[in-house]
Symmetry: C2
Subunit: 424 residues, 2 copies
């Protein structure tokens, strides 16, 4: 599929550093807020946000077909109601307006003043109101690591794992944007199997490196979305930190799955990078063996070569990379996840979010959680300030970054970064 | 707590049969729709709905403090934003207006025409837009039955069960009101453990008899709701059928819990009966042994003596009662569920819904699912038309009803009733 806005030869009249996540080929979507403007839908280029409400007011988005008021909402949902075709039109028009050869905005100093703002001067909000949030478990390396640690190294994967993109429902209300600190959760755990459970702050606080995709309005209840239709229902992706309280999880999760171990907070990046912008970075996924059932079969390259990293910044110290992974490792693709999710007729709505599951690679340095990186706490990670980490400590900031790179074009997500405060 | 609207001596100027679920002591809330009126928030009395938008337009709800436009919404959420105090004021005012001694509406024939409609002449809608839906697993009889069938009869309850009101997140998008038919879901199952999984219509389709409570806006992320505060955050209850595909569930649910086995549809009754209206029917719950952790301790009677029944109506045949149970059997109370859910700081929003879990009693006739009633299909249920049921068949309509009765007052829920159509 050729998408004009992705043309690697395009340049903007705004200077973009080669290491920026936001060249003219990206055009992600988010919502910013300042005291002066209130909430505004925006895109990013270089270190700037571009205010779509001001562009619309100036008549520069007239042919896109999205109502002006949709650009002054606190979330992207109203804009997303225009669907794949509408968003494609919008992204294409923004690409035009930012193109070095287009003078409409470039040469209008007064309008530029209203439209273009430094990212550091605005607050980025949670970009989408999530209706339902589902989390998958689709990295074979992650599932194998967990199975090896907690079950049987020779039978690490459960019998259903290679047949089903295993998933479960999560909590939408506690999804927060980058920048919002979280309190260490408290809860019930049972550290000693021969004694009653105890109550107190979580001792094994963890991150999970994930991506999450956000959907357009799906089909009515009762209808399925096939793997080949799935792309049309995916708006874009965010970086996603699926915070986990391992000790709470261990005690609560049998038989109905994780609950309080996960729902105290889940963090997403402020920018949603469209699936369209990620098309040039598609790669083949791992071979699936045994073959999957027909409703899960997929044609074409459905994985995405997206470099991911996790950094921990201890209080009063420098950030330190603890994990470098890649979204291309995923065993199950987003298309398969969405086809599976709807095969029973379950309906998907505009603004639903689906997490990938922890993204681990084969190398120990690519494991996407402290549980795996420290191998259940048996292999502490050395930090540059001399401290070590088995799990996360109060005062730590966890930062996740991600970008694709090919043919001289880098398309990235910025970061999701949240600090851990002591338990309340 | 004395709530004037609950006074058992009250009578309405509308005649109410002693077997009606909707006397003047109930005043539940719902949303109806007709072609002429559009959507309207309403209450029920006897066989009638009472249109709150028309009452508000006529100035009769002036002192309640809820904006008129909130009564012309497709869901109750805007009305519920007024919180416990607001709803109490509204219910109290409606009780006044319907009281035999109040002439405001009684003697105004033109207004009565606008306000009072036969329930059979209107369509009742899904009463609330559910943000997050959580399902608990709080009946000890149900958990014991499941553990006995699938694990060890001598160790039926898992180690965490008596310490934690076990719960998991469900799907909000597929919650439907009474009256909407559902298609038998299709999906992946593995009937033969030595062969690969297969794909096709669910063969073990089941209901689960539950109640669900709906919340007011809770506290901010990070704060807890205690067991003693919980009542202030609960708006009311609905009857709830948590449809389940047992064969899909069996294959998918380890280790992350039920997913496609549940999210194809979940049905609720059109009326939300307020927690206030249920206060007179409070009873003591089962003794909890071992004692629970302090954050789960509860004072006072927190269970509710609510008679529940499930009926199956085969195509072209009469309805037949297959289960008679009671909400009072629950081991874990709603207060404990809500305190547990928020103990880690998880936030609850206006319109969230929490299911009780299947409500089974000690007697086999009180088991709240076909799985238990037919004991995994080993004890088929005889139907009056000569057929038998191990699980549900296409064409079956499943009907759940519920009411409280005390001191000559009956407060009920009406019913949730949905027909099963063949797989698509």
């Amino acid at each position: 599929m050729s998408i004009p806005a992705n043309d690697p030869k395009k340049r903007s009249w705004i200077d973009v550093d080669k290491n920026s996540d936001f060249p003219i080929q990206n055009i992600p979507f988010g919502v910013y807020s300042t005291e002066a403007t209130g909430v505004r839908v925006c895109t990013a280029i270089s270190d700037f946000v571009v205010d779509l409400f001001e562009l619309a007011k100036a008549g520069l988005l007239a042919n896109v077909g999205i109502e002006e008021s949709a650009y002054a909402q606190p979330v992207l949902n109203s804009v997303m109601k225009s669907g794949k075709a509408g968003i494609r039109k919008l992204r294409s028009r923004l690409s035009e307006l930012l193109d070095e050869n287009n003078s409409d905005l470039r040469d209008d100093a007064a309008l530029r003043e209203l439209v273009i703002k430094k990212q550091t001067d605005v607050e980025m909000l949670l970009p989408v109101q999530v209706g339902d949030y589902t989390d998958f478990y689709s990295s074979i390396e992650h599932a194998t690591n967990v199975g090896t640690m907690f079950r049987d190294p020779n039978n690490a994967l459960l019998p259903n794992w290679k047949h089903i993109p295993v998933g479960y429902h999560g909590r939408s209300s506690s999804i927060i944007p980058s920048g919002v600190p979280i309190h260490r959760p408290v809860g019930q755990t049972r550290p000693d199997d021969s004694a009653p459970p105890v109550f107190g702050p979580c001792k094994l606080l963890d991150f999970e490196l994930e991506t999450a995709f956000v959907t357009f309005e799906g089909k009515p209840l009762g209808d399925r979305i096939s793997t080949s239709e799935a792309d049309d229902y995916i708006f874009g992706l965010m970086l996603f930190n699926d915070w986990s309280a391992r000790d709470i999880q261990k005690w609560e999760y049998v038989p109905l799955g994780p609950f309080l171990a996960k729902n105290f907070a889940s963090s997403v990046s402020p920018w949603i990078v469209t699936l369209d912008a990620l098309e040039p970075f598609r790669v083949e996924g791992p071979k699936q063996d045994p073959p999957v059932l027909p409703y899960l079969e997929c044609e074409g390259n459905k994985n995405i070569d997206l470099n991911l990293s996790v950094l921990i910044k201890p209080e009063n110290s420098d950030e330190h990379t603890v994990c470098e992974s890649n979204f291309k490792y995923m065993y199950w693709s987003m298309n398969q996840q969405l086809a599976h999710h709807t095969v029973n007729g379950c309906n998907v709505k505009c603004g639903d979010m689906m997490g990938s599951g922890t993204i681990s690679g084969k190398e120990p340095s690519s494991y996407g959680s402290m549980l795996e990186l420290s191998w259940k706490g048996t292999k502490p990670i050395q930090m540059p300030d001399g401290s070590e980490r088995k799990f996360l400590q109060d005062g730590d900031t966890v930062i996740m970054r991600g970008h694709c790179q090919k043919d001289g074009v880098r398309v990235g997500f910025g970061e999701v970064s949240n600090k851990i405060l002591p338990a309340k």
